[in-house]
C-alpha cells in the first residue's frame, strides 16, 4: 500500500475536514456516560448480563442509519486483533480500558468515525462525538441526538435528584466530559503556561498533556476538559469550557504575534531546524518527533513554512504511534525498529508534500 493510501485509510474522515480555529484547536470532543436500569455497572455485572446488553445494542443499532452520522456499525473487541484494537485506541475511538480489560466490550462506530459509542467500558455506554477544530457546541448537539436515539430503545439509569447514574462519582449528573485539544506552543515558549494552568484549574477545568503521560505536554498539546458534572446544565458546562478556550486562543495568537515581531530570526531558526531534523533523521523517538512536529506546525501557522499542509501535525501525531507504525509495516516491531520506521515514515510524508507542490 502506498503511503498516500495508508494515510487516507488511517486518518479518520472527520479529521480531514478543517474546523474553526484549527490553527490552535485540533479537535473538540464530547462524551456522555450512560448506564442501563437494573443491570449492575460493568465492574460488577456478570459477563452474561454484559453480553446480553451488547447483543441488544447490536440488534437495534448495528447497521442502522442515523440521519446525522450515516451508517453505524457495531464491532466487538473479542473479534479484533490486538493491533487493530491498539489502532482504535490511537485514534481515540476506544479507551485502553475497553481494549484490554473489558468483558463483552464493543463499539458502535459511524462511517466517518466522528461518533463512537463504547459499550461495557467503565459504564455500560459512553457516547463520544469528535469534531475537528473548535466545535464544542456542535459536538454536544450531536452527542445529545445520539443519546436520544439510544434512549428510544434503552432504559437509562436516571434519578431525579442525581441525574444520570454512573459508576464513578466524578461523572454523575450529566455524565458529560467535554474536552478540547489545543496546540499552544507560543504560550509554552513565552513561559506563560505556568501562569495560566493554575488559573484554569481554579475555574474547575482540568488540563492534561496528551495521553496524560507526565506533566510535560508532548508536542505542546494540551487537553482541556470540565471537571464538574453535577449541578450544572450541559450547555453551561460547555459554555464555561468554551469561554476559557476562547481566551486561550486569543492569548496564544498574541504570543505568536509577539514572537514573530520580537524574535523572528530565532523562530525561523527553530522551525527550520526542526524541519531539517524531520526531513533527514534516520531514527527518531516519539518524544522528539512530537516536539519537532509541533515546531513545524507552528512554522506553518506563522507563515514561515508555506508549502506544507497544516494538518500534517494532526496526521503524523496519529501515524507515528506504535500501533500505526506496525500496521503500516505489516509486522510486530521492536522499539528500535519503531524509531527507525518512524523516522522513515515522517521523511516519506514530508516528501509527499514536496512532490505535491512541485
Amino acid at each position: 500500500m502506498s503511503l498516500q493510501q495508508f494515510i487516507s485509510q488511517a486518518i479518520s474522515p472527520w479529521m480531514k475536514k478543517e474546523g474553526p480555529n484549527s490553527d490552535i484547536v485540533l479537535s473538540s470532543r464530547v462524551r456522555l456516560a450512560r448506564n442501563i436500569q437494573n443491570v449492575p455497572f460493568p465492574m460488577l455485572a456478570a459477563t452474561e448480563e454484559l453480553s446480553a446488553l451488547s447483543d441488544k445494542i447490536n440488534t437495534h443499532y448495528s447497521r442502522q442509519s442515523h440521519h446525522r452520522f450515516g451508517t453505524i456499525e457495531l464491532l466487538k473487541t473479542e473479534d479484533m486483533k490486538q493491533n487493530e484494537k491498539r489502532v482504535l485506541v490511537e485514534k481515540h475511538l476506544i479507551s485502553p480500558a475497553l481494549s484490554d480489560e473489558s468483558r463483552a466490550g464493543a463499539v458502535l462506530l459511524s462511517e466517518d468515525e466522528s461518533l463512537s459509542v463504547m459499550i461495557n467500558e467503565e459504564d455500560h455506554i459512553r457516547i463520544q462525538c469528535l469534531l475537528s477544530g473548535f466545535q464544542l457546541t456542535e459536538a454536544l448537539k450531536l452527542a445529545n441526538e445520539v443519546d436520544d436515539w439510544l434512549e428510544d430503545k434503552l432504559d437509562f439509569a436516571f434519578d431525579e435528584k442525581r441525574g444520570y447514574l454512573t459508576s464513578c462519582p466524578t461523572n454523575v449528573g450529566t455524565g458529560l466530559r467535554a474536552s478540547v485539544m489545543m496546540h499552544l506552543p507560543a504560550l509554552v515558549i513565552t513561559r506563560q503556561m505556568n501562569r495560566i494552568l493554575p488559573a484554569v484549574n481554579q475555574l474547575g477545568l482540568v488540563v492534561r498533556g496528551i495521553y496524560g503521560e507526565g506533566s510535560e505536554a508532548q508536542g505542546n498539546l494540551f487537553q482541556i476538559s470540565n471537571q464538574i458534572t453535577l449541578g450544572k446544565t450541559e450547555e453551561d458546562i460547555v459554555q464555561d469550557l468554551q469561554s476559557v478556550v476562547l481566551q486561550l486562543i486569543q492569548q496564544e495568537r498574541a504570543a505568536r504575534k509577539t514572537l514573530m515581531e520580537q524574535s523572528r530570526i530565532q523562530m525561523e531558526d527553530r522551525v527550520y531546524r526542526s524541519y531539517g531534523v524531520l526531513a533527514y533523521s534516520r531514527t527518531m523517538e516519539s518524544k522528539e518527533a512530537t516536539k519537532r512536529l509541533s515546531d513545524v506546525r507552528l512554522g506553518i501557522d506563522m507563515g514561515i513554512i508555506k508549502d506544507v499542509s497544516a494538518n500534517i501535525l494532526n496526521e503524523l501525531m496519529i501515524l507515528i504511534q506504535p500501533g500505526f507504525l506496525q500496521q503500516y509495516a505489516g509486522e510486530v516491531l521492536s522499539p528500535e525498529q519503531r524509531d527507525h520506521r518512524r523516522a522513515m515514515l515522517i521523511r516519506d510524508r514530508l516528501h509527499l508534500e514536496t512532490k505535491k507542490n512541485n
Binding site: 465492574m43 460488577l44 485502553p96 434512549e151 442525581r162 462519582p169 466524578t170 506533566s215 449541578g231
Partner: protein
C-alpha cells in the same frame, strides 16, 4: 501551587481528606497521582479512583470531645441490589450499580460536594422517554420563570401566549397521571 509529593510540578488535583475529624488538604500533580494509583493491583488505568478512595474513606464518627464513652460503631451500609458495601465503595471509588446511590444516600452529599464544587443535585438533561413527566415538570418550571421575566418587562402579549402554553402543559401532565 506545587505538588506536595514531588514538589516539582504544578498540582492539578486538589481535595480535602478527613480522617477522625482531622482535615488534611491534598494537592498533587497528575504524575504523582498516577504513580500512587499504580500501587493498587489491577487498577493501572484508574489512578483517579485511588485518589477518590482517599477522599471517600473519611470516618464520619463524632470527634472524641463529643463522644459519650461508647465506641461509635461504623454503620455497615450495603446495597441490597448488588451487595456492594459502603466500605468497598470507599475503597474502589466506584458504585456497583444504580441502586447503590440510594443505599449510600445518607453519605453521598458531602462526597459530591467535594467532587463537584458544592453541587449535590443534578441540573441538566432529563431523558425524554423515561423522564417524560419529569421533563414536563421542568419545562413548566422554566416557562414560569420566563413568564415572570416577561411580566416584569410588561410584555403582556407574549406573556399571555406563554401562560397558555403552561396551562396546556399542566393539563397534559394531569391527564397522564390519571391515565
Amino acid at each position: 501551587m506545587l505538588c506536595q509529593e514531588c514538589k516539582e510540578r504544578q498540582a492539578t488535583l486538589h481535595f480535602t481528606k478527613i480522617i477522625n475529624g482531622e482535615k488534611t488538604e491534598i494537592h498533587i500533580c497528575d504524575v504523582c497521582a498516577k504513580e500512587k494509583g499504580e500501587h493498587i493491583p489491577g487498577s493501572k488505568s484508574f489512578s483517579i479512583h485511588q485518589l477518590l478512595s482517599g477522599l471517600l474513606d473519611f470516618d464520619q464518627t463524632v470527634s472524641p470531645v463529643h463522644s459519650t464513652g461508647h465506641t461509635p460503631s461504623r454503620e455497615a451500609l450495603s446495597c441490597p441490589s448488588c451487595s456492594m458495601t459502603y466500605e468497598k465503595f470507599a475503597k474502589v471509588g466506584r458504585f456497583g450499580c444504580a441502586e447503590c446511590y440510594k443505599a449510600f444516600q445518607s453519605k453521598l452529599d458531602p462526597i459530591f460536594k467535594r467532587i463537584h464544587s458544592g453541587n449535590v443535585v443534578h441540573g441538566g438533561k432529563v431523558p425524554k422517554r423515561i423522564g417524560q413527566d419529569l421533563h414536563l415538570h421542568k419545562e413548566i418550571e422554566k416557562l414560569k420563570q420566563e413568564l415572570k421575566v416577561l411580566i416584569a418587562k410588561e410584555e403582556f402579549e407574549q406573556a399571555a401566549e406563554l401562560r397558555d402554553r403552561i396551562r396546556s402543559l399542566e393539563k397534559s401532565l394531569a391527564e397522564k397521571k390519571e391515565g
